[in-house]
């Protein structure tokens, strides 16, 4: 039983890491109806920029602020150069544009900072917490717990922002109906800039945590693929959905690996989430928390 809990907790915490990536997708999808394929590239860009600035001898907090600034600039430029000319085009056109953006951002990041793998130390060790280990004999990684804490703060802040602020409300309004939002004087350009900046910030946080764990390298781009089953499970439009989806994916893939892996020769965790997502699509295509499409009959 202890072993079960250890696997479960480890899975849940690693799920939080997926949630971070999924969160960036959700934000942009919610506000502009665009599935931003470039989110993974943004994570990579953010992490690499942060490490690059750190290497120049800049202190941690300043580097964080500068990297955030770079993400905001990237967001504004994306809005101006990519999204604005495509206003009122079908969603698939915007989606294609974000695929193009992916390659551009990947290239830009490597052109600016080089392609070598770098380490990143946030000063928090990936080791079991002593007193929990002593009391319950369950190993809980300090780093994972820290990541979970960051996720909790981030999600609470975002949820409050969307629900109760003027800009948050406007963001949801734009997500529902661009044209109507335009007609009541909400400036779409500003809204999109804000969304891309926030998504950039989330990408930065995700990049730092993933980078600290696996090293800042090109493979970060592919972590974005792990976010897909999370999104399908949690729903494309829900911030809490991204978190819950991440937890479910994380824990189920670890449990499946440990308990079912031996029957099929292991390696189950790399495909299990996709099977789970596929099964979910059949039952509840809008995801656990996704907004149902409201149609009046």
């Amino acid at each position: 039983m202890q072993f079960f809990f250890e696997v479960l907790i480890g899975g849940l915490l690693s799920g939080v890491m997926y949630s971070f990536i999924a969160l960036g997708f959700v934000l942009i999808y919610k506000a502009s109806g665009v599935f931003n394929f470039a989110q993974g590239a943004m994570v990579f860009f953010a992490a690499l920029t942060f490490v690059g600035i750190m290497e120049m001898g800049v202190p941690f907090w300043l580097a964080l602020i500068l990297a955030f600034g770079a993400m905001v600039l990237l967001g504004i430029a994306t809005e101006k150069i990519v999204l604005r000319p495509l206003v009122n085009q079908p969603p698939i056109a915007l989606f294609m544009a974000t695929i193009g953006l992916t390659f551009f951002v990947e290239g830009l990041a490597q052109a600016m900072w080089g392609a070598s793998v770098r380490g990143l130390d946030l000063g928090i060790q990936d080791e079991p917490i002593g007193w929990i280990l002593e009391a319950t004999d369950i190993g809980v990684s300090k780093f994972d717990l820290f990541a979970a804490g960051v996720a909790a703060v981030l999600v609470t802040a975002l949820a409050l922002f969307f629900q109760y602020t003027r800009v948050g409300r406007a963001l949801r309004a734009v997500a529902d109906d661009h044209q109507a939002a335009l007609s009541i004087g909400i400036p779409l350009q500003n809204i999109w800039r804000i969304v891309w900046a926030v998504a950039g910030f989330v990408a930065l946080v995700a990049g730092l945590l993933w980078g600290a764990r696996n090293g800042v390298q090109f493979a970060l781009v592919f972590t974005a693929l792990k976010a897909l089953p999370v999104l399908i499970l949690g729903g494309f439009t829900s911030v809490p959905g991204a978190i819950v989806g991440g937890l479910i994916i994380g824990s189920s893939e670890k449990l499946a690996e440990v308990y079912l892996g031996s029957y099929v020769g292991g390696g189950i965790d790399s495909w299990f989430p996709y099977v789970l997502a596929l099964a979910f699509l059949l039952v509840r295509p809008e995801g656990l928390f996704g907004e149902k499409h409201i149609d009046r009959v």
Partner: protein, 277 residues
Amino acid sequence: MTTTTHQAAESDSYLTVNNIEVIYDHVILVLKGVSLQVPKGRIVALLGANGAGKSTTLKSISNLLAAERGDVTKGDIMFKGTRVDQMTPNELVKRGVIQVMEGRHCFGHLTLEENLLTGAYTRSISRAELKQSLEMVYHYFPRLKQRRMTQAGYTSGGEQQMCAIGRALMAKPEMILLDEPSMGLAPQIVEEIFEIVKNLNQSERVSFLLAEQNTMVALRYADFGYILENGRVVMEGDAKDLASNEDVKEFYLGLSSAGRKSFRDVKHYRRRKRWLS
């Protein structure tokens, strides 16, 4: 008309559309020189069949055209003496001109109250003032208050229309461009909505330019009317005169002195060539 009286009429009017031509997608000519005026504090109806250019006229004033790849290529639009045809919708709403779009376009996943609150986006006001505006809207639309916590997507067509008008009111407009408020609504609800429009016009001094296919109802509540056909104004006049005009009766109200007519007997309407200014 002498020049002096003409100029007096010009300065009297509040919103002036001068001979505008609108082209969609660089090729489709939709408006071929439309001119109209809305005096302050009045209700003006823009009438005509499907595709006559009513919505396009409204959208060229509110400048929602750009988002549909339409463009005002000739003529100009003046509001209170300023040229407004190149302004963004955001600037126009701040100046007091707001459009309520055809088909309501409420934010389906937001509650009715949240819908109303988004209407005040362009005003930087305190919570108290926001509350006050909200109460003002609820005063005119008590039904919205009853259902304020319901997601707009689950409300009835009439409630959505009220929500859309209420949302526009939250921006404290001087002039509302109302596109097809009767669309898809039961006659009783249409009356209710027009009553509220009249009421708003009288008590809040909001001017209205409304596009309607329901000619009969629109002319009953409006002060003045324009009839559009194929992107041109073919007739204009006081609402009362229009409602009693034989041709209008025949073409738009389906009434005729000689009873039902065959299409063969319908006379060809000679358009006034007022667009050649």
